[in-house]
């Protein structure tokens, strides 16, 4: 995983609560067997008409948000299915940071696993940020994970909290499996003390 330390990029607003993973990446696109190439299907039903034409009123289709890499949204972002295709699609589209007032558990974890930073800010900060993004075309946000800040020059400044282990894992771009395998002795010892009920399936 690529380490995440600091990112500056264009912010796009998705002013909704409960953006579920079925909206982020509809099920007809879950049949690929690769981790890449999902960006073209991001928010598919919101982004495109049934004929595959871009819907001009959807925020990411507006020219001012082309090239956005920071997505600002409301409560409970990423609720629903456990599909990791959701953070894969966001990342592949070009997003590196999400800023929302809360996240669903599985989605949050899936983001961290993929180097996509999920920043949590208070609802009033989100409201201010959404307003600012709307009022200031081309607004770039700088998200600094070492200092845990979100900034837009003089216009916006906020600090955010993040679990220290998850933060470290993003900062260092760890391979979690490699880390776990360092505990091989402990896993083996556990297995010897706690034999699991084994089944032979035919």
């Amino acid at each position: 995983m690529t380490p995440f330390t600091r990112h500056t990029g264009l912010a796009a607003p998705l002013a909704r609560h409960n953006v579920d993973t079925d909206q982020i990446i509809p099920k007809q696109f879950l049949k690929r067997i690769e981790r890449t190439g999902f960006g073209q299907f991001l928010f598919f039903d919101w982004r495109f008409t049934e004929d595959g034409e871009p819907k001009p009123d959807f925020v990411l289709n507006q020219p001012r948000y082309h090239g956005a890499s920071v997505l600002v949204s409301g409560e409970n972002f990423g609720c629903g299915s456990s599909r990791e295709h959701a953070p894969w699609a966001l990342y592949d589209y070009g997003f590196r940071v999400l800023i929302a007032s809360s996240y669903a558990d599985i989605f949050y974890n899936n983001c961290v696993q993929n180097g996509l930073l999920p920043v949590q800010l208070a609802p009033d900060q989100i409201a201010r940020l959404l307003d600012l993004v709307d009022r200031e075309p081309g607004l770039a946000l700088t998200i600094d994970l070492e200092n845990q800040t979100v900034e837009a020059g003089d216009l916006f400044h906020a600090s955010f909290e993040m679990n220290p282990e998850r933060r470290q894992s993003l900062l260092r771009g760890l391979d979690p499996i490699g880390e776990t395998l360092l505990h091989e002795d402990a896993i083996q010892a556990f297995e010897q003390e706690h034999p699991s009920p084994i089944i032979t399936v035919t």
Binding site: H17, N18, D20, D22, Q23, P26, K27, Q28, L30, K31, R32, I33, E34, R35, D45, E50, G74, E75, N76, C79, G80, S81, S82, R83, E84, P87, S102, A104, D105, I106, N109, N110, Q113, N114, N163, E165, P176, I177, T180, L181, H183, A186, I187, F190, E191, H194, S196, P197, I198, I199, T200, V201, T202
Partner: protein, 470 residues
């Protein structure tokens, strides 16, 4: 020792490395075709193996066709994903129940039904409805594909300790209401993020009175309240259920396991981080009217009016949902016309669900213009239902009787709605487009779905029961 919850007992017995997050041992790993290909590919690229194929079981369920299995699969991309699972399981020695295996079906139906899921286990699967298995007193939760790869490689997971939430159902469940109504009422009360960060334990006399299959319906939708997992302390109902499962321990092993299972139950006086009480005494059959599972009401109720919402954000959400659902404010729920009916899914695709639905439709006909499907959750459920003649009841009424799979719950195969179609569905999510682009989903119990099929409109099924008695 201080009294402990079921969750605490299972958690503490699976900690390999006590840290924050803790390294947790996983007893059972269920794998399916949609969320696993990239995990196996990751193993391959890193030159790693599956550590415990003997604790891993793979099935095909999400994108399998539910039509005639003797025909070739039409969807080339879906077929590739199934072929890939076949190849991965061969290469990594993982047992697989493929499309043509007699026991093939939905992973959350098969696991408990076959006795792979046992009390006290830690269970994961790359699917959010893994919470279903908590009905047996297991700690079971959904994970993403990176974590699937992690469990395949190490049989462990790093987990932050969740909060514990006791959902205490107060009073008896009124006759004619179901586990589906209990869980929809809970989600309506606490919201779709109401249990985020928590593991729920369901308690109360109404929970004790539920059958195992009803308990699975309850635990299944824990994730729809945002919960990490949902669970129920093992009791005599749990033990009796496990006694007849093909892969559960047998003989002396069963006798000794049984005591250990019962001892897992939450101790009297154990502490929960949070407690929510849900009064069941006024419970009615529930049905959703909106685009997430908290947007529901009793069947005697009406669609809300956004104008009644004092909070601006909430007002917008209700208005957006009603626009998508094409429902005017204040519409009575009873009487809303539907074009499709789906009875199935990991929520309500078990034998008892089919039996209860069959009672409503027996001797009646599906309303003209309605297409109704019954999709058994697994090969075993289908065979058992057919042995009871239920397939004939469904077919005689005009239902399609299909092969096992996730089907119309998420519409990854051909079983989808056309834009604008409205479906009475026993599944678990009514998100926009969930059952097909532009689809409109009303979640409800199998009894309610059956009644809607017969009348062609959302109906309080208890009225059809009265007709039978009268």
């Amino acid at each position: 020792m201080a009294p402990q919850t079921l969750f605490e007992k299972i958690w503490s017995r699976h900690v390999v490395r006590d840290a924050q997050p803790a390294l947790l041992y996983i007893d059972r790993h269920y794998v399916h075709e949609v969320t696993s290909p990239q995990a196996f590919e990751g193993l391959r690229q890193a030159g790693r193996t599956v550590r415990r194929p003997d604790l891993t079981i793979a099935v095909m369920d999400h994108n399998v066709p539910t039509s005639d299995r003797s025909l070739p699969i039409q969807d080339a991309v879906a077929r590739k994903q199934m072929d890939q699972l076949e190849q991965n399981c061969r290469e990594f020695d993982v047992p697989l129940w493929n499309l043509h295996h007699p026991e093939q079906g939905i992973v959350h139906i098969i696991g408990p039904d076959m006795g792979f899921t046992l009390p006290g286990m830690t269970i994961v699967c790359g699917d959010s409805h893994t919470s279903t298995h908590g009905a047996l007193g297991a700690l079971a939760f959904g994970i993403g594909t990176s974590e699937v790869e992690h469990v395949l490689a190490t049989q462990t997971l790093w987990q932050h300790r969740p909060n514990t939430l006791e959902v205490r159902f107060v009073g008896k469940k009124p006759p004619g209401t179901t586990a589906k109504d209990m869980i929809l009422a809970l989600i309506r009360a606490i919201g779709i993020a109401g249990a985020t960060g928590s593991v729920i334990e369901y308690t109360g006399e109404a929970v004790r009175a539920l059958s195992m299959e009803e308990r699975m319906t309850l635990c299944n939708m824990s994730i729809e309240a945002g919960a990490r997992a949902g669970m129920i302390s093992p009791d005599e109902t749990t033990v009796a259920y496990l006694a007849s499962r093909p892969y559960a321990p047998k003989g002396d092993a069963f006798a000794s396991a049984q005591d250990a299972w019962l001892a897992l139950a939450t101790d009297p006086g154990a502490h929960f981080d949070q407690i929510v009480e849900i009064d069941l005494r006024q419970l009615e059959p529930m049905v959703t009217w909106g685009t997430n599972p908290e947007m529901s009401a009793p069947i005697s109720g009406r669609v809300p009016d956004p104008a009644d919402e004092s909070d601006a954000v909430r007002r917008d959400m209700v208005a957006q949902a009603l626009a998508y659902m094409d429902l005017p404010p204040n519409t009575p729920l009873e009487g809303i016309p539907i074009q499709r009916v789906f009875i199935g899914s990991c929520t309500n695709g078990r034998l008892e669900d089919l039996e209860r639905a069959a009672k409503i439709i027996a001797g009646r006909q599906v309303a003209p213009g309605v297409r109704a499907m019954a999709v058994p959750g697994s090969g075993r459920v289908k065979r058992s239902a057919e042995a009871m003649g239920l397939d004939q009841v469904f077919r005689d009424a005009g239902f399609e009787w299909r092969e096992p799979g996730c089907s119309l719950c998420l519409g990854m195969n051909d079983d989808i709605l056309s834009p604008g179609e409205r479906c009475a569905s026993t599944s678990n999510r009514n998100f926009e487009g969930r059952q097909g682009r532009g689809s409109r989903t009303h979640l409800l119990s199998p009894e309610m779905a059956a009644a809607a099929a017969i009348t062609g409109v959302l109906t309080d099924y208890r009225k059809l029961l009265e007709e039978v008695q009268a």
